[in-house]
Symmetry: C2
Subunit: 743 residues, 2 copies
C-alpha cells in the first residue's frame, strides 16, 4: 500500500516535471535577427514553408530611415519600425536583396480605407513563436493571430463591434516588381496572381507569378476590388476626371488587372467577432493554390493547425538536444537551428507540381523540390550541417539541384523560386554536391552531378556560372581586365569548386580528372604576393595592379580584386590548400601572425562569408588551437545575442546561424567539400544529435564536454584518444561519440 | 426539238445572268465612313459579331493629326492614315468615344522587334468586304487576309521565306484602359486577358476584362512574351539597370501581367509559307473564349469560314431587295444596311453565357444577349428599322434590355459590354420598348418593361437615368441651376420618353398613367419663347437665362441649354407634339418659315441626332410636303457618297445609316414611339422587304415608285388611295404595299 503511494507520487512528480519542461520551440526567439540588418522576420511559418505570415512594417515614411523605398532594404520587418501596413504571405528570411513580401493582408475597422498610408497602424504586444505570431493593431483595436502550414497562411482577426474590413493589398510589397490580377470568387473566397522577381534588382526577364486563393470562414457583407491606375499625361488627361484616382468595384466578380489593386471584404458586426482567413499559395497555378489550401488545412481549426505546426518544429529542433548551458545559450542555439530550417524552402505544391526553371513549364516531383539556394553563402557550412542533422532533407536539396540542371542546363548558383538570379560570384553548386556525397548522402545520381559540375568548369562560351573562365583557364586567374569587380575573389571561388570536382573525381575513380582539377584548384597561388603575404589582383599582362590597398573594400565598397570584401578578408579563404599556403606564407608562425593582424586591425567581418572560417584557421598550426577556442568564444559572445540585433548582419539564409550552431557544438567544417570538422570548445556539456539510420551507422552523435578549464586538453572519438584538432565526419557518425576534455 | 433548244437557251441565259449578278455583299463598301469622323472601319466581321479583325492605323506620330493619343479619336482606322501597327480583334464601329481596339495581332518579318513604332508599316492594295479584309504590309512583304465568325477572328499571313513573327501586342490599343495578362499555353496556343473600359473617359469603376485564346495552324519555332515595365524614379532606380527597358521571356509558360506586354510566335521559313491564326474572344472567361473558337471554327478552313460569313451577310442584306437606282445608290444603301447590322452586337458566348451588368456575374441566355446600345442615337430610327426588317433580332434586343434591368435595377442608356457608360442625356430605353411593342413585336414581358420604364420616370433619389428629375417634375423642366449643360435638351428627351410611357400605358389599359404621362410629355412648352419662336433655357426662378444666343452651341460647344447642339437644332425636336407646337409657333406658315431658317442659316447639322428628323417635319404642314422631298434628296446627295468621307460624321452605331436607309426607301419614323412613318420620295423604283411571318401579316412589304416627276402626286397603300403623308406601320405590314406616284 505504501509502495503504491510512493510510486504514484514519483509518477505525479514526473508528470509535473514533464509539464514544466519547456518545449524546444519555446527556446526560439523569432525576433533575433530582426534588427542590425539580420533581415530575418518573426512571421509564423512551418519548417521550410513556402508561406509565412509576416508583419510588414517597412512601408511608409513614418518608419524613417528604414523605409523600404528610401534605401536598399531587404526585409519586410524591422524591429525598430512602428508602422505596420499588413501581413505578407510570401517572404524571404535573412537575405540581402529585396524580394517577395507580397499578398499583404490587413484587418481594419471603421469606414473602408484602401490607402496603406491611412490604414496603417502602430502596434503593440507582439508575440512570436515559429508557428505563431500575434499582435495588437492599435489604430483598429484588432488582435491579429497568425499561423501557417507549409503552403497556407492562416490568420485570425479579433474584431470589435462595428464595421470590420479585411484588405488584401496587391499593390504594396517588398519586391520591386509590379502587376497583379485578382478575382473575387464568392463572398468567402478570392483568387489572384501577383508578379514578383528581379531579386537584387536584376534578371528582370525572369520575373514570375505567385498564385493564391484566400478563404474566409464568414461570408462578407460587402466585397470589392480597388484599383489605383497610373496617372495619364498629355492631351487625354483633360478628359479623364478619374485620372490617377482610386476606383472601387463593389460586388465585382471578374478579373481585375493592374499594378496597384486590392480586395476588401467588409462586415458589420453587432458584437466583437473573430474572422479566420486562410491563404493558400502556389507557384504553379491558382488551382494548385486552392488545392494546397484544402489539402493542408481542410476543416482544421486555427488552434489545430498551430499545434500541428508547433509539433513539427519541435520534432525537427529535437534532432539536436543540448544539456548544460544557460537558457540564453539555448535560446540563441535553437533560434539559429530554426533559422537553418527556413531556407532552402519548399517550392512544389502538395500534388508535387512545381514550375521549371525560367520557362516555368509545370513539372512534378515525388520528393520535395527545394528553392532559395543561396549557395555563395550556404556552401560554407549550412549544407554540411543539413547533411549531418537532416540528411533526408539534404538529399532532396541535392536532387532539386540536379532537377534544376536538367531543366536549365546549368546547376544553380542563387536560385529563387525557379529563377536563377546569378547573384554573387563563383560556381558553388559543385562544392555542395561533393560535400554531400562525401558525407555519405549518396542516394542521388552522382554521375549526372559530376557531369553538371564539369559543364560549368569546362564551358568557355556563354557560361553563366563562370564568367571569365577563359582567363581563369589560360592564366590561372581572372585579371582586372577580365572583370572590374572581384578578380581575386572569383579566382578563389573557382579554385574551391575545382577542388570539390577533384575530390568527386577521386571518389568516382576518375584519376585524370582528379589530377587536373587538383592542379586547377590551387591556381590562386599566382595571386599571392609574398612581399605582402596577401592575395592581390593582377592585370592582364601579369603585373600587379597598382596602387594596392589591402584594406580597401571593407564595408562592401566595390573594388577590382574582391567582392564584398578586401584582401585581408579573402587571403586566408584557401583552407583546401592550407598546408601549402602556410609554407608560402613562410611557415606557421608567419601565418598565425598574419591571421592575427586581421583581427587586430579590425579587418575581420563576422557579417560576411569570406572570412567566417578565419577563427578556425589557427587549428592548422599546431600549438595555436587555443587561439581558435578563444576567438570563437569571443565572436559568439560579441555577435550573437538573444535580442533583435543578435545576428552580426544578414543571416544569409541561415549561414550565420549555421556558423553559430557549429561553433556552439565545438565542430566546424573548415574545408568545403572535405568531409571533416575542426574542433573547438562546445558551449554545452552534452549535445546529442539524432542520426538518420538510412545514412548513418550510429544512432546518435553525442558531443560531451568534460572539465571546466579554459582550453581543450584532450579529445576522444568513439571513446579513444584522438590526435589533432581535425576529425572525419565518418569517424563521428560511425562511433557516435566525441568527447572534449578541458584542462 | 426546237422548243427544247429554245428552252435550253433561255435556261442557259438565266444561269449566265444569275452568275453575272452581283451578290449584295459586293454592294457593300466597308471604307464608307472611314474618313470625315464616320468612325466605321473596314475590318472583317460577321453580322452583329463580337469580333472584327480590323486594320489598326491610328497609332504612331507618323499618322499626323489623326494619331489616337494626340486628340479625341474614336476609331481604330482612318482612311487618311498610312502607318499600320496591327489588327485589333474587338472594335466598335461608328462611335464617338475611344474604346476597345485591342488584342492587336501583327505579322512581321526579319529579326524580332516588339516596338510598334518600329514594326509598324505602310500598306497597300487593301480589299474589303463585310466578311473579308486583305492588305499588303509593305515593310514586311506580307499579305494579310482576315475573316471572322461571330466570336472568332481568323487571319491568314502569307510570309516570304526567312524569319517570320506573329506578334500579339496587349499594350497597344484604342482604349485608354491598361492591364493585361497573357500565358503561352503551347507552341500553337496563347490565352490572355485585356482590360478595357472607360468609354468616353468615364465610369472607370466599370472597366472590365476581355478574354481571348489564339491558335496557330503551325507550331512556332520560338515563342515568348515581352514586357515594358514602367520606369522607376528615386533612389531605387540607380540599382535597376533594366529600369523601364523591354524584357523578353522566351519559351516562358506561365502568366505574365503588365500594362505593356505582348507575345511573339516566330518561325524560320525555307520558302514562302502561310500561317493561319484564329482568335476566339469572350467577355466571360478564357475557357469560353476557347470554346467559342472551337465551336465556331472547328476544322473549317479560312475559305470555308469566309464563305459561311459572306452567306450570312447576303441572307440578311437580302431582306431588302431594291430595283432601279444606280450602282452607286445600291452601294450606299447596302453599306448603310451593313452598318446597321454591326451594332448592337452579340455579347453572349456560344454556350449562352455572358457577364451580368457591372458586377459581371456569369449569366446565361437562351437567345442572344445584345450589347452596345447607344440609345440616345438609335431610339430615333435604328430600332424601328430593326422592328420592320429584323424583328426577331429586335425582339432579342428588347429582351436584352429587360435582362439589363433585371441585373442592374435600371434600363440601359448607353450600355457597352455589360457596363452602363451613362453617355449622353435622356432616358431613351422606354421609347424603344414602346416603339417595338406598338410595331407588333410583343413577345416580351410588357408589364416588366412598363415597370422598368416607370422606375426611371418616378425615382427621385439616386436616379442614374434621369438626373434633375426633381425639377423636371416640379417645374416641368430642368433649369440652368439643375445642370450646367443641356437643361432644355434633357427636358425634351424626358418629354419624349414620357410620351412613350403614355402610349404604352394606353396600350396596356392604364388610363390614369396615360393621362398623367401625356401631360408630362409636353412640359417642354414652358421653355418655348414665343417672342423668338425658339426653345431656350430657364433659370431656377423661372426667368429666361440671359444672354441667349440661339446659334451658340453649334459644333459641340458646351452650353447651358443644349447638349451637343443649339436652340435651332433642338427646338423642333418635339414631333410627338407637332400639332400643338405648330399652333404655338403661330401656325403652319410660321412653323415652316422658322424651319426654313434652320437650313438657310446653316444651323442644320446632318451629323448629329437632335435635328436629323427636321427635313421630314415639313410633312406636318399641308402643302409643304414637297419641301421634305426636296430637302431629303438634297441631304442624301450632299452627305452620303460611295467614298470614305461618305457619311456626314459619326455613324453613331448605325443611326446615320438607318436615316439613309429610310430616306432612300421613302419612309421615316418621324415620331419616336409612334408606330407610323412619314413619306418622301424613294430612291429606287421598287423596294421589297421580306417580312417575318411570326410578326407580320404580309409576306413582303413592297414600296414602288411610279412616274418620273420631281414630286409626289399620289400615294396608295394596299392598292388604295391614301390621304396625307403619314402611314401606319400596321397598314403597311398588313397590306404589304406602298405605291408612290410621282407627278
Amino acid at each position: 500500500m505504501r509502495k503504491t503511494i510512493v510510486i504514484t507520487l514519483i509518477f505525479l512528480q514526473t508528470i509535473f516535471l514533464l509539464a514544466q519542461e519547456k518545449s524546444l520551440t519555446e527556446y526560439v526567439n523569432p525576433f533575433i535577427g530582426t534588427s542590425n540588418f539580420g533581415t530575418t522576420n518573426p512571421g509564423a511559418i512551418a519548417p521550410r514553408g513556402m508561406v509565412s505570415v509576416t508583419p510588414f512594417n517597412t512601408a511608409g515614411k513614418v518608419n524613417g530611415e528604414l523605409e523600404k523605398d528610401s534605401r536598399w532594404l531587404s526585409t519586410p520587418y524591422v524591429a525598430e519600425n512602428t508602422f505596420l501596413t499588413g501581413f505578407s504571405q510570401v517572404n524571404l528570411s535573412g537575405v540581402g536583396c529585396p524580394e517577395l513580401g507580397v499578398i499583404l493582408a490587413m484587418p481594419t475597422t471603421g469606414e473602408l480605407e484602401t490607402d496603406y498610408l491611412k490604414y496603417g497602424s502602430t502596434y503593440s504586444d507582439e508575440k512570436a513563436h515559429p508557428s505563431y505570431y500575434s499582435v495588437e493593431l492599435d489604430k483598429h483595436n484588432v488582435r491579429v493571430e497568425a499561423t501557417a502550414t507549409t503552403r497556407t497562411g492562416v490568420s485570425k482577426y479579433h474584431f470589435p463591434a462595428g464595421q470590420a474590413n479585411v484588405l488584401i493589398n496587391l499593390g504594396l510589397g517588398l519586391t520591386n516588381e509590379e502587376g497583379a490580377l485578382v478575382k473575387i470568387v464568392s463572398d468567402t473566397e478570392i483568387e489572384g496572381i501577383r508578379n514578383v522577381g528581379t531579386f537584387c534588382y536584376y534578371k528582370p526577364e525572369e520575373s514570375y507569378p505567385v498564385y493564391f486563393v484566400a478563404r474566409f470562414n464568414k461570408p462578407a457583407k460587402r466585397t470589392g476590388i480597388w484599383k489605383r491606375p497610373r496617372k495619364y499625361e498629355g492631351v487625354e488627361a483633360q478628359w479623364m476626371g478619374y485620372n490617377g484616382k482610386e476606383r472601387r468595384y463593389e460586388g465585382y466578380r471578374k478579373e481585375i488587372i493592374g499594378d496597384s489593386i486590392g480586395t476588401y471584404f467588409s462586415y458589420d458586426f453587432d458584437e466583437p467577432t473573430t474572422v479566420e482567413m486562410k491563404i493558400g499559395v502556389s507557384y504553379v497555378s491558382i488551382e494548385n493554390a486552392r488545392e494546397n489550401l484544402e489539402r493542408e488545412t481542410s476543416t482544421a481549426s486555427f488552434d489545430q493547425i498551430r499545434k500541428t505546426n508547433d509539433q513539427e518544429w519541435n520534432r525537427l529542433l529535437g534532432k539536436i538536444q543540448v544539456e548544460g548551458g544557460s537558457e540564453e545559450d539555448k535560446t540563441i542555439f535553437y533560434t539559429a537551428l530554426y533559422h537553418t530550417l527556413i531556407h532552402p524552402n519548399t517550392l512544389n505544391d502538395g500534388n508535387g507540381e512545381y514550375p521549371s526553371m525560367a520557362q516555368r513549364k509545370t513539372m512534378k516531383t515525388d520528393g520535395t523540390r527545394y528553392t532559395t539556394f543561396s549557395f555563395w553563402d550556404t556552401y560554407r557550412n549550412l549544407h554540411s550541417l543539413m547533411s549531418l542533422v537532416y540528411p533526408e532533407q539534404q538529399s532532396n536539396m541535392v536532387k532539386s539541384m540536379l532537377d534544376i540542371y536538367k531543366e536549365s542546363g546549368w546547376l544553380p548558383k542563387w536560385e529563387l523560386n525557379a529563377t536563377e538570379t546569378t547573384t554573387m560570384v563563383g560556381d558553388p553548386a559543385g562544392i555542395v554536391l561533393t560535400d554531400t556525397y562525401l558525407r555519405g548522402i549518396t542516394d542521388f545520381d552522382a554521375e549526372l552531378a559530376y557531369k553538371a559540375m564539369l559543364k560549368s568548369a569546362e564551358t568557355i562560351e556563354n557560361n553563366p556560372l563562370r564568367p571569365g573562365i577563359e582567363d581563369y583557364l589560360s592564366k590561372g586567374y581572372l585579371t582586372t581586365k577580365t572583370t572590374n569587380s572581384g578578380s581575386v575573389s572569383t579566382t578563389q571561388e573557382y579554385n574551391i569548386t575545382d577542388y570539390a570536382i577533384a575530390q568527386m573525381a577521386k571518389e568516382l575513380g576518375k584519376k585524370d580528372d582528379f589530377k587536373r582539377y587538383s592542379k586547377r584548384s590551387v591556381s590562386y597561388r599566382k595571386l599571392f604576393d609574398p612581399k605582402l603575404n596577401l592575395l592581390r589582383p593582377k592585370n592582364d599582362d601579369g603585373s600587379w595592379n597598382e596602387p594596392f590597398d589591402p584594406g580597401f573594400g571593407n564595408d562592401f565598397v566595390k573594388n577590382l580584386g574582391f567582392i564584398e570584401g578586401n584582401s585581408w578578408q579573402y587571403t586566408f579563404m584557401v583552407s583546401h590548400d592550407a598546408k601549402q599556403f602556410i609554407k608560402m606564407m613562410g611557415g606557421g608562425k608567419a601565418y598565425v601572425n598574419q591571421l592575427n593582424k586581421v583581427f587586430e586591425q579590425d579587418q575581420f567581418d563576422m557579417a560576411n562569408e569570406p572570412d567566417i572560417a578565419y577563427p578556425y584557421l589557427y587549428n592548422f598550426v599546431k600549438g595555436n588551437e587555443w587561439r581558435t577556442q578563444d576567438k570563437v568564444k569571443e565572436l559568439v559572445r560579441k555577435y550573437f545575442t538573444n535580442a533583435p540585433a543578435g545576428l552580426p548582419g544578414n543571416d544569409d539564409t541561415g549561414t550565420m546561424s549555421a556558423w553559430l550552431i557549429y561553433s556552439m557544438m565545438g565542430i566546424y567544417p573548415v574545408v568545403p567539400a572535405d568531409p571533416s570538422y575542426t574542433l573547438s570548445t562546445p558551449f554545452f556539456d552534452k549535445i546529442t544529435i539524432q542520426l538518420n539510420p538510412k545514412y548513418y551507422q550510429a544512432k546518435t552523435l553525442v558531443i560531451e564536454k568534460n572539465g571546466e578549464g579554459k582550453h581543450i586538453k584532450n579529445i576522444k572519438v568513439g571513446g579513444k584518444p584522438h590526435k589533432g584538432y581535425f576529425v572525419d565526419h565518418s569517424e563521428l557518425t560511425e562511433t557516435g561519440h566525441l568527447e572534449i576534455i578541458m584542462d
